[in-house]
Amino acid sequence: MKRLIISVVLALSLLIVPVSGALAVSSQDVEVTADPIYVSISNTPTSEALGLVAENSTTWAIGPAPADPLVDAGCTFTVTNDGEVAVNINIQATDFTGGLGWTLASTVGEATVVMKAGKLGDAHTAMIVLTTSSEAFISSLATTSSMKWEFNLQTGTFTDGVLKTNAITLTATAV
């Protein structure tokens, strides 16, 4: 009788081993984990009209050339982190449209302009040359914090006298 019971227990235990293994199927599944963090930034003002610009000149958004390095009063724009987490902010711009257009570049030329952006505390020489590709601009802007920033436009020679516009995009991502 004892032998029989032992045999039954052994047989069942052998059968149960793969069953318990089957319960581990979830470890083979795809796992999706979301960090419930709210990301949001705002910027003010949304536009800046530079007015008439001359050939081979530098025009600042704020007007007269600001102090070097950039100080609070020398910055036109303010970007604020309205989210629940620190954010990195990248910046990029588009070429100018209107008439024959202007192309962004690192040196000025015919219908080619240089656009630079800098944040509070940046030396003028440390300002980022804007391109149509994204570049790191503000690192780890804490939640509810703001950062002032400014841009300038350096012109070369013109091929027409038509109104031109471009856009600057600020991209925010959670740190």
Partner: protein, 215 residues
């Protein structure tokens, strides 16, 4: 008196015109980071991202997957090279004033994908479709993808090396089942089989036990 009224009117108009246009928290997104782990060929991951329209007017948002501007290199993540695996539904969302809306993100790894044991990052970009002004805001949710390390399923071609290899060509043999998926020992079929086996085994033992008692 009339002159004063005119001056006040001019002052008011000038004041309104001089107030800078602002883009106050036009919208937000949540979650800002999503981790997809253990992705494997034939599998897919789905999750929603919520857009919060904080404008006091209906706004249209454009949502799309794109290459990241930077990645968490310090954690071993590179640029996710297969944007075509990522689907955003819908890619254009109209959300009412001060309301929210969801988009569904699907990351589907094709059956024949060769992207085992990788860590990479892709961004989901959110922008307002039409905004006035030259400064645009883009928010991006960072998606971190880790793929499962797959065991090689096909025999590799024999390596031919050394001086004697000149002019010799070698061809790998056909795999027994080239389309076969790697069989997991913990598949649902194994579970069903094990349970049936246990029931059958128990039945046989019970039958033998009863028979022995009768004998």
């Amino acid at each position: 008196m009339r002159l004063l009224k005119v001056l006040i009117a001019i002052g008011l108009v000038a004041g309104v015109l001089l107030i800078p246009a602002t883009a106050l928290a036009a919208f937000g997104i949540d979650p800002g980071k999503v981790y997809i782990d253990n992705l494997f060929p034939g599998a897919q991951a789905e999750f929603p991202i919520t857009i919060y329209n904080q404008n006091d007017y209906e706004t249209t948002f454009i949502v799309k997957a794109r290459e990241p501007d930077y990645t968490a290199e310090d954690k071993g993540y590179g640029v996710f090279p297969y944007l075509e695996w990522v689907t955003v539904t819908p890619g254009r969302v109209i959300i009412g004033a001060s309301d929210t809306g969801d988009v569904l993100i699907t990351v589907a790894m094709p059956e024949d994908a060769d992207y085992s044991g990788k860590k990479s990052e892709v961004w989901i970009s959110f922008m307002e479709e039409e905004t006035e002004g030259m400064i645009k805001i883009e928010l991006a949710s960072r998606i971190f993808i880790s793929t499962r390390v797959e065991e090689p399923t096909e025999p590799e071609a024999p390596a031919v090396e050394g001086e004697g290899a000149v002019g010799i060509t070698a061809e790998a043999g056909e795999p027994v089942s080239p389309e076969a998926e790697p069989v997991s020992p913990f598949s649902p079929w194994a579970t069903i089989g094990s349970v049936l086996g246990a029931l059958l085994g128990g039945g046989v033992v019970f039958f033998l036990f009863k028979r022995r008692r009768h004998v």
